[in-house]
Symmetry: C2
Subunit: 373 residues, 2 copies
């Protein structure tokens, strides 16, 4: 890999690993007859989106109205915005609905009425169910609220009830296949139970689940209709810790110039900080924070062979990163060298830096880098 021209923090993308991640989950879903609607909030890239399309993906998930507009520009026509409807953006939503098949998430009757009155293109509505994450969604036992929402949806001919949707975000707290399986099974059971209650009135409704640990670690998806994982396109150190991937499956690494070394404490300072990595961290066994793990540059990209013994990124300020080495690893870099880092949370890292370069030097777009056009 020719890194000679890299002079500042640069998020490197290994196209082969990324395409393999896309392919493997597509195949897994296909073999089980499950619709895959990948979440594009992790990569936020038109070019990476094309790799999904080449492999037969036609439906996508995004996390904001602006991101839906971005992918609409790239020709995507079946988009679920997996975020509670923000009625302050209702005009943009309506304009989008004229161009794409739009799926939205609702949790209250008032929002349905707003959509009903202020949009005039067909829109699909999912009722968001809280399956245990307690971030958003209606409790599954809240039949009164669900009935009220359905009653309102039925009032507007352009609004269609798609079914029940959940994000099992609490799978991120799990650390084994068995634990993630329990979260998946319980989440699916809740959604299927609701589906069975409403199937006679709404015979086409579906259930949709989405999280990368579940999609990666559960072998048998059961009778779920649709899955919406996103992070698996890149994976990251958090997914590795959960057990959803191996280090070798992580498709992005941040290249950072080393700008100072401190032999008295076996530390390096790198150009690469919170504004490049974001500040999500893992906790090491000793309670210390980990903001990244170093990999070794190779001719074609990087190798994770020494990732467990390599230096660790232990602190981030705005532009600086502090790297803890030991006596053996301290001499691996000197000022002016590039160091390569697997990120803790690839979604936030990609958003923070707002662009990619493939390991062969090709620029890859990110929505973030186009926000201000």
């Amino acid at each position: 890999m020719n890194l000679a021209s890299v002079s500042k923090p640069t998020l490197l993308l290994d196209r082969e690993i990324c395409r393999r991640n896309i392919y493997l989950l597509k195949e897994k879903a296909k073999q089980q007859g499950v619709d895959l609607r990948p979440h594009f909030k992790t990569h936020q890239s038109g070019m990476i989106g094309e790799w999904f399309r080449e492999m037969g993906i036609e439906k996508i998930t995004v996390s904001s109205v602006g991101m839906a507009q971005y992918f609409s520009h790239f020709g995507w026509q079946d988009i679920t915005i997996a975020f509670p409807v923000n009625i302050r953006e209702i005009n943009v939503i309506n304009a989008l609905a004229s161009k794409a098949h739009l799926g939205l998430l609702v949790m209250d009757a008032m929002t349905v009425d707003e959509l009903g009155k202020k949009t005039n293109h067909p829109i699909s509505l999912w009722i968001k169910i809280d399956v245990g994450t307690h971030r958003t969604g209606l409790g599954f036992q809240n039949i009164q609220a669900i009935d009220e929402i359905l009653h309102r949806i039925d009032n507007y001919s352009h609004l269609h009830f798609s079914g029940f949707l959940a994000h099992a975000g609490h799978s991120y707290q799990k650390r084994s296949q068995a634990e993630v399986q329990v979260v998946y099974d319980e989440s699916l059971r809740i959604l299927l139970n609701l589906k069975s209650q409403y199937l006679s009135s709404y015979p086409y409704i579906k259930v949709s689940l989405g999280d990368t640990p579940g999609a990666s670690m559960v072998e048998d998806f059961g009778v779920v209709d649709e899955l919406r994982p996103g992070n698996y396109v890149f994976y990251d150190l958090m997914q590795e810790e959960i057990g959803a991937c191996r280090f070798d499956d992580i498709a992005v690494a941040m290249a950072c110039p080393v700008v100072a070394v401190h032999p008295e404490r076996n530390q390096w300072v790198i150009y690469g900080g919170a504004i490049h990595f974001s500040k999500d961290f893992l906790l090491a066994g000793d309670g210390k924070k980990i903001f990244g793990r170093m990999v070794d540059s190779t001719e074609s990209g990087w190798s994770t062979e020494n990732v467990s013994s390599n230096p660790v990124l232990v602190s981030l300020s705005q532009e600086h990163g502090i790297v803890q080495c030991n006596k053996e690893t301290f001499s691996l870099c000197k000022p002016g060298d590039l160091s390569l880092w697997l990120p803790v949370h690839s979604c936030l890292t990609a958003d923070a830096i707002g662009s990619y370069s493939t390991t062969s030097g090709e620029a890859v777009d990110h929505y973030r880098g186009h926000l201000y056009e």
Copy 2:
């Protein structure tokens, strides 16, 4: 304040508070005969930079070569890049040095040689001293390394030794005027001690210190030559906790639509997440995280009158924020309303969102929003 057109997370800037912050520290430094070289990494804005210029500021600090280029476009001609020299950017540095009086930080002789050989415009070099933060800088007792650096600088006629510079970043761990005073005094003592050792050989050298707690909380700056605080332009909840400002001095607040409410746990969900606020947090007395505190919208901006009893932003994911209310405050907002939030760390929040709107609706630039042009 007319917030009717705000439909997504928007960083509001109170021009009057911001200008007052700029003015008060400018006056304080002027009265004590201290040069002020404000750090522009907090606001990163050409327009806000003009407010400094109107008040007589001519010298600035930035944290990256790219940021120096940005402010060079706005006519700034005396710029210190308060980050270790990244020799991979040496060509851009040399081009900048042809247009502006550039100050750089060095900590090793090799970097001085690189600068000496690969640049050909006058450049000022500061030796970065570690006064206790242990992020970067030479130990003050490391006279051998300092002498070696000076020996190399003297080899190149276009390189000039400016003096000793430090960032007392450990002041951020302090929580009282007395504690911050101790950090300031000790830092200044270290720098002055070095200055006195080298003054006979380099009669024009200066000492430069920079951190907002010190600049805000220390009454008598002593015989420091230059101060480089940055955060004070906005302040934030972290500075309030340190004691460097009051809530009323915080010049930015994030406007976020409320998109869902959960009466069963007295929570709201806002459109406003890690990609808008960044993930820095404070710890409350009960050990819970605080990512923002709510203020009340007023005709001219916002009021902090109820900030201590208002709801608290307790969790952030990529686009979502979770707000904890109590029974009394839960009814303050419903879906579709806007909520206003003081950020924990204004530098990272401004960088994450990449733009501002003044409370009167004027758009304000941020370097981040121009990175991809």
